[in-house]
Amino acid sequence: METNSRKAWLYLLPAILFLGVFMVYPLIDVLIYSFEEGYNSASQTFVGVGGYNFAYVLRDPYFLQALKNTFILVVITVPVSTGLALLISVGLSSIKKLRDLYQTVYFLPYVTNTLAVGLVFMILFKQTPYSDGLVNLVLGWFNAGPVDFIDGPYWAKMFVLCFYTVWVVLPFKILILTSALASVNRDYYSAAQVDGTSKWRIFRRITLPMISPMLFYLIITGFIGAFKAYSDAVALFGTNLNAAEMNTIVGYIYDMLYGDSGGYPSYASAAAIILFAIVLTITCINLLVSRKKVHH
């Protein structure tokens, strides 16, 4: 027993070392920086210890904007993308013809580069002196618009960002859900059919509970992913996100780290800790809910 556990620790050592050096140590470091005021990474000096960094960040209008943006993004894209993915995968698993084709089409965004997709979205939405963009063209048919989605009003930009995020996260969710649906034993459906169960009731009482573990996995990772959103906003609105009012929390942290005059690592650390606290809280709530709702 003793030698066994020693062996086990030995096998785990490489992973523990790497995790320790590249994950745990930096995490602790960030926590320390967040309480050190005016930390300078070049000189390794700071002027004092306390909660000032948090107070500053929480009062910074750019951070509050980023917080608002991130929350809107999370609240809209997670339910919409999960719901859409569920709808599409149920649709996919109930058709026979062209199923493989559709599956491939839906999976395309997953293998496409974020920035490339961003470029396509620019073409779709951006107004230039020469054209209003494809979306505005379509809006024009209904006597609406034109709306400047990239440099225009806040809601238009937020709409594009949400649309883009949903579009990018959809394929992975569809992939997971179609395989989850395929793994449900057909006999349950036959049994329900013999008992005269309506389609909707089969879906609600059998399919949903059966795939609920996968669904909750997607919701939890979806929340975490949306809270960490950054590259999507950059792909659409460029790197000066504060000016575009489209910054996210991660974007704010990034700006603070590499901003003008060497950046403000203390503020960045404080913002990172706040983000960590938010994600941890939401995930804990998710897990608590899933314990009640998910059938394993």
């Binding site: 059919q193 013999v194 008992d195 059998i206």
Partner: protein, 371 residues
């Protein structure tokens, strides 16, 4: 409810689908099946795997549509009705209990589907569930999840779920195959009892001949989609129509020999073992039930003793014979006679009623003597 199957045929596209330029090949799972199941009986569909018995069940149930032929429940033609309109209860081989629902929720599930004038109040549903749970002896387990039940209990939940809406027909697909040997004995008696108490016409599918013989009122022996024989278990056992049926029924299995008819006598290993009357001289396949051997030192059939297997109630005399198709010949004699088994050569006389003659080519039964 009487069930009538009329020229029922079901073909499937062959595996691999259709190839370019070739006509799509098909596999016939059920071939021209005509049979009437009397009201209130328990019928066993019996055959080796792939013989079309499960397909037949699905055709009765409505989960599959026949390629041709009709299915009648009583006077109603239900061929074109979907399963939910037929009033059938189906028990799946793996039970298909909803794992996230409790036993009660599982049993009540079919009742919750009822709409319109059939709609039940929650109290009525629970009352029905309790009554059926009592019938299958599940009381006290109603709030458990299926995973917390033993295999036999899960089986009973599945039967309860199938019975709770009082179906016209109860169908069971390999109901005992997932249970261990002891539970199997117990459960098959359970099924018989439940069927008797409810009086519901019941069809069950099995590949286990012992299972089918023990509880069925009638058995249907199938092979490669074609019905071989239908009848009461004892009749089919005592009077098989062909070699397949004779081989399929009975444990230990029937002993098969290559024999010959010469001058009205059955010849085995050069010796005339049984007079068979007016049959022209020809080679035949001979089936002798293990209980058809009588230990007799002057008997005509000479075998070389291999070993004696004691089973308590009776004794298996295992010997070899040059004309036997199997490696050994197994004879069952009563335990009292075991002391008289000689060493070396063992000689048997044969009970004529336990000896069957089959055409050497087709395997069809050749009647002889009184039968």
């Amino acid at each position: 409810m009487k069930i009538l199957l009329q020229n029922l045929t079901k073909t499937f596209p062959a595996r691999g689908g259709r190839r370019a330029g070739k006509k799509a090949e098909t596999v016939t799972a059920v071939n021209d099946f005509t049979f009437e199941i009397p009201d209130g009986t328990l019928i066993g569909l019996l055959g080796p795997s792939g013989c079309g018995k499960s397909t037949t069940l699905n055709l009765i149930c409505g989960l599959q549509k026949p390629t041709s032929g009709r299915v009648f429940f009583g006077e109603d033609d239900v061929t074109d009705l979907p399963p939910e309109m037929r009033g059938v209860g189906l028990v799946f081989q793996n039970y298909a209990l909803y794992p996230h629902l409790t036993v009660r929720q599982n049993i009540v599930f079919p009742l919750e589907n009822l709409k319109g004038k059939d709609r039940l109040s929650r109290a009525e549903m629970n009352e029905k569930a309790d009554a059926i749970a009592k019938l299958v002896q599940l009381d006290g387990l109603m709030d458990r999840k299926p995973a917390e039940l033993s295999g036999g209990q899960q089986q009973r939940v599945a039967i309860a779920r199938a019975l709770v809406k009082m179906p016209r027909v109860l169908l069971l697909d390999e109901p005992l195959s997932n249970l261990d040997a002891r539970l199997r004995l117990q459960t098959r008696e359970e099924i018989k009892r439940i069927q008797k108490e409810t009086g519901i016409t019941t069809v069950f599918v099995t590949h286990d001949q012992e299972e089918a013989m023990s509880i069925s009122d009638r058995i249907v022996v199938m092979k490669e989609g074609i019905v071989q024989q239908i009848g009461k278990p004892q009749e089919v056992y005592d009077d098989p129509v062909n070699l397949f049926v004779a081989k399929f029924l009975g444990t230990p299995p029937i002993n098969v020999f290559r024999g010959e008819i010469r001058e009205g006598k059955l010849m085995l290993g050069g010796a005339a073992v049984l007079p068979v009357g007016e049959i022209s001289d020809r080679p035949v396949t001979v089936g002798i039930r293990p209980e058809g051997f009588v230990l007799d030192s002057d008997g005509p059939l000479a075998c070389t003793l291999d070993r004696v297997e004691v089973m308590g109630r009776d004794v298996s005399v295992v010997s070899t014979h040059p004309d036997s198709e199997a490696l050994v010949v197994r004879a069952i004699i009563s335990a009292e006679d075991a002391a008289f088994v000689p060493v070396g050569d063992v000689r048997f006389a044969l009970k004529p009623g336990k000896v069957f003659l089959f055409d050497a080519e087709s395997g069809a039964r050749i009647p002889f003597g009184a039968r």
